[in-house]
């Protein structure tokens, strides 16, 4: 079986209606499955961290990152997608 490839998506910015919906739609369109979501709002600031399965993602990295950048610009949010390997490398020996 193919090993699952995962990425972390972080969303940061002023809270408004529909952030989660729009991000999730964009991911679904790209065949990205959400594995875990954690979300907080502190002082009106929306902060969401998602772990997603990108094994069967329809897009290349630069494409998904461009797509989420565009969505971020539209909603005045900072959306970042990163392969989980960077976190494993930094925090796990």
């Amino acid at each position: 079986m193919q090993e699952m490839e995962k990425a972390v998506i972080t969303v940061l910015g002023q809270d408004c209606v529909g952030i989660t919906a729009k991000v999730c739609t964009a991911l679904a369109e790209s065949n990205i499955n959400i594995l875990d979501i954690s979300q907080t709002i502190v002082g009106g600031y929306f902060n969401m961290v998602m772990v997603v399965d990108i094994t069967n993602m329809k897009l290349q990295y630069d494409e998904i990152s461009a797509k989420l950048d565009a969505l971020g610009d539209e909603m005045n949010l900072k959306i970042k997608v990163q392969h989980t390997k960077i976190f494993d490398a930094m925090h796990r020996v």
Binding site: V8, T10, S38, V49, V51, Y61, D62, S65, K80, V81, Q82, H83, T84, K85, I86, F87, D88, A89, M90, H91, R92
Partner: protein, 452 residues
């Protein structure tokens, strides 16, 4: 499973503390390009470089996207030209520098290092031609970096080369005087040069290296500074431990990027160089680390000790994080590239003499320091000799990258722009060493080099 806090910590380092992969440097051997005809040689090196490095920039950019961490520079280091071009029948190597410049521009790298000669024990004819070509080569190219190794702990110092390099630096400044003497910012004089250093201007691909290798330089002075903010006032054990842990985390990112870059480019992984290399940006400064440690300004008493512990613990953390740590690995202390060092130099807190003391314990040497344009060549040679002596006796790499700013005096200013920054022109001791430098010959190898 990675925790939310760990994710946020990594991203704070990247977004707020300037953590980045400073450079992916592809080392390329040019030994198989030898040819008696310089035009054929130029054609061969151009073809080899542009073939090997054609995907370098693309891969660097892809990895930056994949991991969300900036890969700031993509660069190339090559076999020292004085070795690779030794068979060419020609009087000047300037056309080779121009070829390298064209190749660098073709593949989109911002620097190519290796217009170099290794003369720590003596000159070949080719070394002489290369060194004589440096001033013009630095003036007619944009992206070519040059270095000359004039001594080693094993062989002593070639004082003829020390004398000549003082003159070459001055001439290079003269050749580029209409462009803030920028030629000198691309020229380094080394003692104990390393063969796998990915950082410019001193990178070259040593003759003991494979045909091609990927070396990665990671940086992150801002991350170290922020980590130290958390332990303000704590004792030295805590201070050292914090630097070490931070260096470990930074290096692990570099190791991962290096491995993947080497796989994607089908080139063996060489080394990770963990060097705290500042940029002129606020929050990306070695000087700020000193201030966080408790010094009012870099240059204050205690600075050498602070730098020693920083350099040592960066290495300790880095060594644990990667299977192959190499290059220079430690803390760089360039003046013009660090806003805090610039301010300290402007206030008079930081002097050339204190910088010299600091180079006994930093990872390289006197770096990016502007001096008056009327400084005699013999004085520049004297500074090189002092620096090289420190390297030779202490078994470390030392380097000199001085910029005599033609037509300007102490208290003036020079502006290089970009990553090279700007600098005040620092005073140089006015007493002459001309008779000392004029002696010529070699300083023999130190006693502790006899280890066999």
């Amino acid at each position: 499973m990675i925790t939310r806090n760990e994710i946020l910590e990594t991203n704070r380092m990247i977004d707020d503390m300037n953590l980045d992969v400073r450079t992916i440097t592809m080392g390329i051997s040019l030994l198989d390009c030898a040819d008696a005809d310089i035009e054929k040689f130029n054609e061969k090196i151009y073809n080899k470089i542009t073939t090997y490095a054609k995907d370098l920039v693309k891969v660097g950019d892809e990895l930056a996207k994949k991991y969300g961490v900036p890969v700031v520079n993509k660069r190339i280091s090559i076999t020292p030209i004085a070795i690779a071009a030794a068979g060419c029948k020609t009087d000047s190597y300037v056309s080779i520098a121009q070829t390298l410049d064209r190749a660098a521009k073709e593949v989109g790298v911002n620097f190519i290092g290796g217009f170099s000669a290794l003369v720590h024990k003596g000159y070949t004819e080719s070394d002489r031609k290369l060194i004589a070509s440096i001033p013009e080569a630095m003036a007619v190219t944009d992206r070519v970096c040059s270095s000359v190794n004039i001594g080693t702990s094993r062989n002593g110092l070639n004082m003829n080369a020390v004398k000549e390099m003082g003159e070459v630096i001055l001439k290079t400044a003269e050749f580029t005087k209409d462009a803030e003497c920028i030629g000198c910012a691309k020229l380094v004089v080394f003692c104990n040069a390393v063969e796998d250093n990915p950082f410019m201007a001193g990178a070259f691909h040593g003759v003991g290296e494979a045909d091609c290798a990927i070396n990665v330089g990671v940086s992150g002075p801002g991350v170290v500074k922020k980590a130290l903010e958390e332990v303000r006032g704590a004792d030295f054990e805590t201070l050292c431990e914090t630097v070490k842990r931070t260096a470990f985390k930074i290096t692990r990112v570099g190791q991962m990027i290096a491995r993947e870059a080497s796989e994607r480019l089908h080139v063996p992984f060489g080394i990770i160089d963990l060097s705290l290399a500042p940029t002129p940006a606020v929050g990306d400064s070695i000087a700020e680390i000193f201030q966080e440690m408790g010094l009012a300004e870099p240059g204050a008493p205690g600075t050498t000790a602070a730098l020693a512990l920083l350099n040592d613990n960066v290495k300790k953390g880095g060594v644990m994080a990667s299977s192959y740590v190499g290059g220079l690995s430690g803390a760089f202390i360039p003046v013009s590239e660090d806003h805090g060092m610039i301010e300290a130099a402007e206030k008079g807190a930081l002097t050339l003499e204190k910088l010299e003391a600091m180079t006994c314990v930093c990872s390289v040497g006197l770096d990016m320091i502007a001096i008056p344009g009327d400084t005699p060549a013999s004085t520049i040679s004297g500074i090189i000799a002092d620096e090289a002596a420190i390297g030779m006796i202490n078994n470390k790499t030392t380097a000199v990258r001085l910029i005599p700013v033609i037509g300007r005096k102490e208290g003036g200013h020079v502006e290089f722009g970009g990553l090279l920054g700007h600098a005040p022109i620092m005073p140089v001791n006015r007493y002459s060493c001309a008779d000392f430098i004029a002696r010529g010959g070699r300083i023999p190898a130190p006693i502790h080099s006899f280890k066999n």
